[in-house]
Symmetry: C2
Subunit: 362 residues, 2 copies
C-alpha cells in the first residue's frame, strides 16, 4: 500500500479512501491511484482490514457430511445468497464428530468469521458455546439442539414422517420396519416420533423389534437390515430415515434376492439427485434443501448487518412426498394389498425443480 501511495504521489490514507470507496477523493487523484494499483498488481490485505474493521466478510458453514448431497445443496443455497451480499462462505466438514465441530468453531471464531450456519453433530449446543459467549451471529439448520437460543431453519420432520409412513399404511402395509439414524440428532428423534405416531393413529401396534437406530450411513443401515432379515422378522415395508440408509437397505435386500417393491417396499426421507434412477426408483420425502440454505443465510445476514435483532426465529419448511416406484404404489392392485385392505392413495407425481415451501411458525 505504501508502494502504491508512493507511485501515485499520495499518502496511504488516500489510497485507502480510493479502495474502500469512502471519503472524498478527486477524480484525478483516484485515477492515478487506480493506475498505480494496476501497475503494481496490488492486492489489499483483508487480514489487516479485518483487524481494523472487526469484520472479515466471511461466514462459516458447518455441515456434518460433505458427500451428502442434501448438505451440499444447502450449501449452494447459502453460498448464492452470501456471494450476492459480498460475503464468502467457508465450508467445514465436521464428519458427524462433535470434537471436530468444536475444533472448527474455535478455529473459525479465531479467524473472526462474521457468522455461523451450523448443522450440529451432537445433541447439545455445547460446542457452540464460544459463539454465544462472543455474541457471534449463528443460525442452526436442519437439526435442533438443546441449549441454543437463536435462529433456526429446519424441516418438519414429524409431519413429514407421519405422511411418509401413512403412505405405506394406506398401501396396506402393517409390518413396517424403521431404520433410523443417530438418535443424538433431533432429526432422528422427530422422525421416529412421526413414525410411531402414524402407526398408533392407524391403530397398528408398534413392533419394537422392527425399529433400530444407529448412524446415518449406508453400511450401518445395510448391517441392520441384514440382521432384521436374518432373524426372519416378518415385514412388508421399510422406512429409512435418510437417502443413504435406503441404499443400505436396498443392498441388504438385493443380496438376499428379495424383490423391491413386490416383496418388500422401501421409502425414505430426503431426496437425492439420482433417487429417480436408483433401482427401483425411490419414493422419498423430499426437503427443500436449497431453500433451507438461502433462508438460513438470509436470517444470518440480517443479524450480521444489524437489520434484525429481535427474539429467535424459527423457520419450518414442509417436505413433500415424491411417489415413485419403490413404495409399490404403482403396482397392479392385486400385488399391493397385503391385508385385504387396499385403499386408494392420492398419487403425488414426482416433479423436478424444488418449489419453495416455507411455513413460518412462531
Amino acid at each position: 500500500m505504501r508502494d502504491v501511495a508512493r507511485r501515485a504521489g499520495v499518502s496511504t490514507a488516500t489510497v485507502s479512501r480510493v479502495i474502500s470507496n469512502n471519503g472524498y477523493v478527486s477524480a484525478e487523484t483516484r485515477r492515478r491511484v487506480d493506475r498505480a494499483i494496476k501497475d503494481l498488481a496490488y492486492v489489499p490485505n483483508a487480514l489487516a482490514r479485518g483487524l481494523k474493521t472487526q469484520r472479515s466478510g466471511i461466514v462459516a458453514l458447518l455441515i456434518p457430511e460433505i458427500v451428502n448431497s442434501f448438505y451440499t445443496t444447502v450449501c449452494r443455497g447459502a453460498e448464492d445468497v452470501a456471494n450476492a451480499a459480498g460475503f464468502q462462505v467457508l465450508v467445514g466438514n465436521t464428519d458427524e464428530d462433535v470434537a471436530k465441530e468444536r475444533a472448527y468453531v474455535e478455529l473459525m471464531t479465531s479467524s473472526q468469521v462474521d457468522g455461523f450456519i451450523v448443522a450440529c453433530a451432537g445433541h447439545s449446543a455445547r460446542s457452540l458455546r464460544p459463539l454465544t459467549t462472543l455474541q457471534i451471529p449463528t443460525v442452526l439448520i436442519d437439526r435442533k439442539v438443546d441449549g441454543f437460543a437463536g435462529d433456526i431453519v429446519h424441516g418438519d420432520n414429524v409431519a413429514g414422517m407421519i405422511q411418509l409412513t401413512h403412505h405405506l399404511i394406506a398401501l396396506g402395509h402393517r409390518r413396517i420396519a424403521f431404520v433410523n439414524g443417530n438418535l443424538e440428532t433431533s432429526v432422528a428423534r422427530d422422525r421416529e416420533t412421526g413414525f410411531r405416531h402414524a402407526l398408533i393413529e392407524a391403530g397398528i401396534a408398534v413392533a419394537e423389534d422392527l425399529i433400530s437406530a444407529g448412524t446415518w450411513f449406508i453400511d450401518d443401515a445395510e448391517t441392520r437390515v441384514s440382521t432384521l432379515l436374518d432373524r426372519r422378522r416378518s415385514l412388508s415395508a421399510i422406512v429409512a430415515a435418510n437417502n443413504f440408509m435406503a441404499i443400505g437397505a436396498l443392498r441388504a435386500l438385493r443380496r438376499r434376492g428379495i424383490q423391491v417393491p413386490e416383496t418388500v417396499a422401501i421409502v425414505c426421507y430426503d431426496d437425492i439427485e439420482v433417487a429417480a434412477e436408483i433401482d427401483p426408483f425411490l419414493t422419498v420425502m423430499a426437503q427443500p434443501a436449497y431453500t433451507m440454505g438461502t433462508l438460513a443465510m438470509q436470517l444470518l445476514l440480517e443479524r450480521i448487518g444489524g437489520k434484525y435483532n429481535g427474539p429467535p426465529r424459527q423457520v419450518v419448511l414442509a417436505p413433500r412426498l415424491l411417489v415413485r416406484r419403490s413404495c409399490g404404489a404403482q403396482l397392479p392392485i392385486g400385488l399391493i394389498s397385503r391385508n385385504g385392505n387396499t385403499q386408494a392413495e392420492p398419487i403425488v407425481t414426482a416433479s423436478d425443480g424444488e418449489r419453495r415451501q416455507t411455513a413460518l411458525t412462531d
Copy 2:
C-alpha cells in the same frame, strides 16, 4: 490478550509464548496464563497473528461443482491431510464459471490464504494469474490448463477412455456414441482423444455424428442423447464423459422405452457412491478421487512448508474399470454379440474401497 496478561500478572509476550507454545515459559507461569485464558474465555485473533506471521493457516480449494461427489470426495481427501497438518480448508464453488473463479482467487488471496488447490473452470490459467504473481503455492487437480507451470495431480484420461471404449468394442459394439463434456477442459479433450484412439485402433471408422460435446450436466446430456435418438442414428452403445451425463443419457433412453443394456449399452467415466444402485447398475471408469485430494494437499503442503521447491511435479493417477450391468457384459452370450464378434473380456469385479493407485510420471 492484554486482559489475559494482566489477570495472569505477566506481559502479553508471555501470553503469546504460552499460546503459540514456543519460547521458554516456566510451568508455573504457564499454568497461571492458561487459567486466565479459561476464565476470560479468551480466543486469540488469527487475523492479527496472520498479519504478523504472514501466514493464515488456511488453504483454498476451488472446485467447479460442489454437488458432484467426485469433487466432494477430493475435498475430503484434501481436508483430512490439511487438518492433520494444522491447516484449515476453505472450499469455494466456482460453478464452472471463470468469472466466479477469478473472484474467488482475488478474495482468497486478499485473505492471505497460504496455498491453492484448483480444478480450473476454464481452459487457461489466466484467472490464476495473481497466484503466480504473488508466488502463492498452487496445485492443480483433475484438469490441465494452458499457461500454468506448477504441480498438478490428474487422472490418466486418455488411457482410461481407451480402456473404457475398448471394453465396449470387445463386447461387439461398433456404433458407439460419445456424449462429451465441456471441451474447454483438458479432461473432455483427453477423453475424446482416448475415445477416438480406441476406435481407430480397432479399425472402426469414427462417426462424427455420434460425437457431441457441451456441458457436464444431466439435462444437457439428456437433450443431446434425445436429439441423437430423434434423428434415428443407429447406435448400440453410449459412452458418457462423466457420471452425471450417464444419468442424462439414461433418462433419454428410458423416456423412449429403450432397454439398457439389452438394446443400448451405457458406460461412463467417474464413479459415484450410488452408481451401483442406479438402474441398471453402471459400468464406470472410476478415479481415485480421495487419493487425488490427499496427494494434491501433500504436494501443496510441501511447497508451503518450503520442504520442496524444485521444478513442477506431475502426478498421474490410473483409473480403474468397474464392470457392472449397464455395459451388458454379463448378458447371455447371444444378446451381447452385435456383430458376430463376441470376444471375451476380462471381467474386473466391482469392489468397494478405493485403492491407492499412483503412477508418478515425469
